[in-house]
Every structure is written in C-alpha cells, then in structure tokens.
Symmetry: C2
Subunit: 529 residues, 2 copies
Amino acid sequence: MPASLQPRDTSRDGLRNKVEAAVLSGFEPFWALVNRTPWIARIANRIIVNNAVLKAPCRPLALSTQAATTNWATLTDRTWFSRYLPPAPQDQLPPAADVATLFKLRPDRPPVPSDRSTLLFPSFAQWFTDGFLMTDTDRRRTRTNHQIDLSQLYGLNESVTNALRRRSELPGEKGKLKSVISATGEWAPALYDAAGRRDAAFALVPEPTHLPGNWPIEKRAALFAFGGERANSTAFTASVNTLFLREHNRLCTMLERDNQTWTDERVFQTARNINIVLLIKLVVEEYINHISPYWMRLLADPTPAYTARWNRETWIPVEFNLLYRWHSLVPTEAMWGAKPVDLAGLRFDNRTLLQDGLVTALAGASQTRAWRIGPFNTAPMLEMVEAASIQQGRDNRLASYNDYRVLMKYPRVTRFEQINGDPLVVSELARIYAHVDRVELFTGLFSEELPPRSAVPPLIGRMVAADAFSHALTNPLLSPAVYHAGTFTPAGMDVIEKTATLADLLARNDEVPAGTRISMEAEGYRSVA
Amino acid sequence: MPASLQPRDTSRDGLRNKVEAAVLSGFEPFWALVNRTPWIARIANRIIVNNAVLKAPCRPLALSTQAATTNWATLTDRTWFSRYLPPAPQDQLPPAADVATLFKLRPDRPPVPSDRSTLLFPSFAQWFTDGFLMTDTDRRRTRTNHQIDLSQLYGLNESVTNALRRRSELPGEKGKLKSVISATGEWAPALYDAAGRRDAAFALVPEPTHLPGNWPIEKRAALFAFGGERANSTAFTASVNTLFLREHNRLCTMLERDNQTWTDERVFQTARNINIVLLIKLVVEEYINHISPYWMRLLADPTPAYTARWNRETWIPVEFNLLYRWHSLVPTEAMWGAKPVDLAGLRFDNRTLLQDGLVTALAGASQTRAWRIGPFNTAPMLEMVEAASIQQGRDNRLASYNDYRVLMKYPRVTRFEQINGDPLVVSELARIYAHVDRVELFTGLFSEELPPRSAVPPLIGRMVAADAFSHALTNPLLSPAVYHAGTFTPAGMDVIEKTATLADLLARNDEVPAGTRISMEAEGYRSVA
C-alpha cells in the first residue's frame, strides 16, 4: 500500500483509544526503564494484559455458531465455534466476488512489503493457528481442542499420539516421538513410502489437508508423519513442527537423565507438558511482542489470569478464526540459502528442507521480507483462501464491521476515510458497499490502515490480543495447581525460564552458524524498547 | 447415635475453624438482621461463599483419576473424575469387610433419627446428585457432563433429549416434553408397555440403573421415560423429576403465550435454560441452607463467582463423588398418606405415586424423619452401597482422612476421640485401624461427630460447600453474558426470582391442600435466622 496521499480521518478513533495508543506506543525511554525493572515490568504487564483482554466480553459467551439464541449446547458443546455477536441479516451485502477484488493484487500497484515483519512471522502464525483454528467443511463447526496443546505435533487425540510415539522403555528412548536421523539432523518419519503409499503404522495420522490426490510421488515421499493435518503445508510450517519434535526428544533425554526410574509414559507426558509451555512462552514473548505496537515487553506471566474476571476455560470464537486470515503477509518468493525460491514450490514438499536442514529454512524465512497486511496485497495463489474467508463470515451470518467496532470499544465509523487514508481503498470500499454501515467484518478488519509500529491493523490487533492472552494464559498447564517444578521438574522449569524465542529453540536443536539471524522482525526494526 | 457419654476432644479442630463456626453458627439475632437487610446480606453472602470455596484448591487441579502424575489428559479429559490429592499407598488398610461393619446397624443400639432433616432431604440429594455424579462400572471413569444441567430430566445428550421432546409447532404444544395426563396430573410417558416391553420411541432413553432383569411386569409398566438413568430409582426421586417435568411444560405454556412467533425449538431451549436455573436456585436457597449450620441465609447470587479465583469450569472430583454417599440418612419406612410404608417397596415402582399423586409423595417425605448421618446407622438394604463406596476409595487409591483434613485446612487428628466422642465409634475405629493416620477418607468422613445445627459432619460440610458453590455458581447460565432477561425473557426472570423451594415449584404444578408441609427441615427446626 503506498503512503496515503492524505492522512486517515481519525475523528472516530475514540479518545480513550487514542490516549492508550499514545501512551503505550510512545515514551520509549520510559518503557525501556520499565522493561529493565522486573517488579515494575510485572505490574505494568498485568495492567496491560487485563486492559487488553477486558476490551472483549468475558467467557462464557451466550452464543456459539450452533444456534442464534442461547441454549444449553451454545453454552457447552465445543464442537462449534463460540461467537461474540448474534447472527445478523446478510441481505444488504454486495456479491462476494466483488468483495474478493479487495484482496487481489492490482495491475496499477506493486505488492507492498512489510516494514516490520519477516516471513518467519506469517510462517509461525500459520503453523501456530493450525493447532487450534480448524474449521470443518461446513464452515460452522470446528474440530479443534480449543487449547494450545501442540496438536500440530502430537495430534488431536490419543490414538494419533500413540501412533507417533516410540513407546520404548529402553534407556535413551523413553518418552520419545518416532524420528529418523539424516545428515541434516532429526526428522519426523515419512508418512508415505517411496512408492507413495501410506505407512500402515501411521494409519490413524491425519492425511495432509488439501493435499492433491495426484501429488507427485517424490514430493509425497518427503511428507512427514505429523500429528497436525496442516503441519506439512509448506516447508516452513514443517520446519517449525520439526523444531518442536526435536525439542520434545531433547527434553526426553534430559528428563530421563534426571529421573532414571521414570517410565516411558511419564517421560513422554512430562516432555509434552514442558513443550506446550515452551510454545506458550514463545507465543507471548516473541510472537505477541512482534504483533504488539507497544514499547513494553509483554511477559508470559500467567498470574494476571489467576485473579481476573476472564479466567475461564478457552473456547475459540468464530470471529477469532476469521480475523486470523493473514494471507496478505505471505510473499510469492522466499530466500532459501543464498537464492530466492518460489514459495508455491515449497508447498507439500519437504525435499529441499530435508536436504538443506532447519537452519537454512528458518534463516531463509528470517531474511525474507513479509508483505504488508491489507487490501490489494494477497498473492494470487492465496486469493481462493480469501474468498473462502468472506464466505465463512457470511455462512456464519456475522454482524457488520461497525457492530464489531462497538463491541470492541471503538466508535462506529461514519466515513470510509476513517477506515483508511488510501484513496483507492476508500473509493473501492465505497463502490462495493455504498455505505460504511454495510461493510462486513472480514473486509473491515483487513481494510483498516496500518498505524506506525503495527504488524496488524487496529481492530485485528485489539481482537487478537483479547483472545490471545485469554487463550494462552488460561491454559491449564499455567494454573496455580500445575505451574511448578512438581509438574515439570526443576530442569524443566529451567528450560521454560530460558526459552523466549524460536532462535533459543533452534540453538538447542541444530548447529546454528555464528551470526545467523532467526527473527520475525525485519532487519533494523525493534519491537520493544 | 446416642448422646456421647463424654464430649468429643476438640483440641485438633483448629482455632480459625472454631472461630468461624462460633461466629457463623452463633449470634442468631445479628444474622437475623443481616438476613433482613438485602445489601448487607449480599456482602455477607459473598464473604461466606468465597471463604467456603477457598478452603479447597482452585480448579484446574493437576490430577484426575486417569493417572498418578500430571499429563495433558489429567488436565483436559473429563471422562475421568478430577481429584484433589494424588494416589496414595493402600497397603496399611484393614479388610474392607471389617470397615463395612462401621456402616451397619448394630443389635445393641436402635437406628438414630435426625433431629434436623426429613426424608425430603436425602430424596432430593439422591435425585440431585444423580444428575452429575455418575460413576462408571470401573469406579474410576465417569459418564457425567459435570454441570448441573438437569440431565435427570433431559438426558445426558441430545439424542436422549430428542426422544423425550414432543417436537410440535402446534399452539399449546411448542417446546414441551412428552407427557400423559391422568386423574392425578401430568406424568412422563411409560418406558415399558403393559407387557413389559420397552417403547421403541424411547430406544435411546437409558435403562434404569440396577433395575433387575426379572422385575415384575406390573412394576416395570409404571416406570417413566426419564432422561436420567437413576430418576426411577424410588417413587421419591421420580416425584422430584416429575415436578421438574411439569415445570418445564408449564414454562413452555408461559413462554409461548408471551412469544407467539417462537418455534418449538426456541421455546424448548428457553424453558430448559430457565428450569436449570430454577434447580440451582433451589439447591442454594433450600438445600444448601438446610445443610449449612450457619444462621445466615445463603443466596443464589452468582456475582461472587465473577471476580473469584475459583471462577473456572467445573470438573467433578472423585472425592466429591465419595463424600456424597449419604445413605445413612435414608430410613426404612416412610409416611405415605396417613400410613407408614416400607421404603424398599417404593423402589422401581411408581404405581402408588401414579395413583396418589405428587402431593402425597412429597408431603409424605416431609412428614418422615430422616435418619441421622453417621456410623452404625445405615439401613440393611443400603449396606452394599456403603461397601461399594469403600471399594471406590481404594480403587482410586485415595489418600487418608488426615491428609484430606490438612488439604481442607483442619489440623490432623492424633486420637480417635477427636473424631467422635461416642465410645463405641472410638473403640471400633481403634479396633479396625489401630492408628488414626490409617483411617481412610470415606470412613473418616462418616465417623465424625455431628455438631449442633449440622445436617452433615464437619469435613463433609466443608468439602461439599467448596464444591457445591463452585459447581453451581460457575454454571454457564449464571455468567454475566447469559444471566439476564435476553436469555430467559422477563417472565422467565420473574419465575427465577420467585422460586426458592420445592414447595414453590409444587404449588405451581399441583393442587396443594392448605396446611400441607413440603420441607427438608424436621418440624420445629429452623435452618436460618
């Protein structure tokens, strides 16, 4: 998106919102001081986290996608998505195909790169959300366990987990996941043999979602037996999953060393518990800090949840699912080793990953600039996915963008110019919707102008923060009765303490050449003070 | 139990516990004033409820009956019971048959009646807990939904519910459960026909638990098609279930009258929502007030939960299941109309209920004195159930009575005389266990001496209060996003407001002759100031 020819009309941003943004995204030296002073940082973190979560209504919500009015199922049946606002009439909407043009590249302007994020950011986001945002084919039900449970690695249920476990009581093997060792390190076993047939040992492991039936045998043979149905989607998602596989097995070695009487079962379960907490640590301390436009370094401290009104079990809202469609971030090319490669070529194909190793993949993602999130910036291969998202909003009869602004404590917009200062965005929104009140949620979310220091637009930022914190910090592993060395062992607590980034995890699980940069932040960008 | 020959040794009651008991069970005029002053009552209620719940650890707990150490299943898989303390060695325990003698009547002392409770109290307790305390045959798993959801009436899942619904869009029928009208009022339809064959329409409705295969056809033909597998257990449980069935259909008539455009589905779901809240109201305002030894009238105000550390989704602990085995309360005879009848004769037999009606049954239960809860006081027909409870504690490897005292903030006892002042209880405990540290939870719970004004002994009272409040008040129907007229309609809110007792419910659903007493309280007894 080019710099706006005119500044966005900020008259409907809301005074409190403006003050909050100014305080939290300004005063860098003050926040640097806070970040350096642990006890103040914990207090500030508590205030910021509570403020972020309480922008949205607290769970349990009255509705799910199961019905339009409250019933016992909308309150208890988690095979449906939860929802914030009741179904609304969809009769004033423009044709979906027309809306979809907002999510396509245009001949008159080149794709806009992000000034903040590398490809590691959307790659991690894709892999991470594939653990809990699974929409069923009818676009209303879900197969998720709702929790952050590393189902990408361990599977959604015990039968998948069992197929992936080594299940050996031999020293050095206890607790481990099945894996194979090659010249480039440790990998999940192959899901298909060289002839393209599924390995019978993994009959219960899910087929990769959207894998074409006629997929070439040589690419198929490089797919991994992963618990998650989407973890093989690209070589980058497979890389992150492999990193957590290696960490699991590394944790098993550590746990067995310290607890020689433990059974395979106990080593496995404890390693999984630690690994899930490591993911939550990364999510808050690297990923959310990257998303946040604040100078304060947000902390994976679960204690704010313990006394909060929002300390209720998670249940993924359909709106959370929809706002997470950050496909415009994904570029068409990525650096791989020294040269750019076509991203589409890394889909369902881990051959170059197996050959060049994790460091090449993750360093390449870190050298590749993501695209900027927003309209007219989605790569052609992902246009279909944007169209499906528009349809999911309609199938679930979501309320309007303006209704969701009010829910999330923003004033309604009254002019398109309050959404974005870019005249093309304004004119296209006006052409398609005629009136701002008709703008649907999905369109509004992604049409908002990106403020300075922001990885995502304001309403997405607010909604994702509310759900991300209340999702991550209410995880049962972080609860007072569980979050201690009795559950994780002292060595496990120490690992948790020392892990904040994917780079930390990679350094423990591969040979990382000095000076290798593994980061979601574009070079020269700093997310926290 | 006869009056103790010597007072119980109270040296291990704990100072704070003694002060709390003295303040809350004394000062009747002060509490009478509190009860009369709504705003003070709400504050006092909040303090008392929080104090009661925080005696136990907050959910989520680290363990379930699934495993001895924390794993992802013990944190998420609700097909197991939750548990407060980890499994403990069971090798110092006396033979279970020996322990069972503590739960039998003795030739040397007659059964002891309660000075506080009528048979309506254990009848309601039995019916109520059969909604959420279902132990599977292996004694470790559970089939419960964990919530108070009136599954006794509606069934544990949608397929049962659907079988029981009338499903008609005709005026006057919308939302209703199937029922038949006789000279004595409205009843659930018969589960078996006159030849003793199951009605095919109710194929998915559960078979009554423990119904003997050779049960006489004429008794079988009087069983109701109820959602709950134990709701037919006695004519008294069937009475309470019938009362909620009538209330459901009455609510449907009311809702349809006020909302003529509503569908059958919406009327049904809204009536069910209201009916569940009515049950929770009754549970707190009649049942818990009957159990509580306090002069303060406890209120079904959900707002204390909203800001509490314990505001997490319920998950039934195995200890809660076990402490609820109040079988010694059940006498061998009950008043029915003007004459006493054998209680065993009312098992799986609703013929006299169908003939004489709900008022006769519930007034009879209210005229019948319950027995006193405690050792040497279980009717012969229930001895087997006590033995099964002892075994369930052992199968789940529960920790000792003393360990649970510490968990619930009581000092360990050091002498049997601190449990009970009755020399026979002391000598039998000493004979069976030799040392107080060996006393198992189930035995300890039921061997404690009943203090003045108490329906249950102290440790049971404390454990049941912690779980009852955190169970009832975290029900999703009571949450801020749900508990309002938008969910229940204004008329529904009004019904909720006006319902506090089974007598209220009965008055709306049957012809109750003037002067009929429907109460859990023994005549002359007052539970609150």
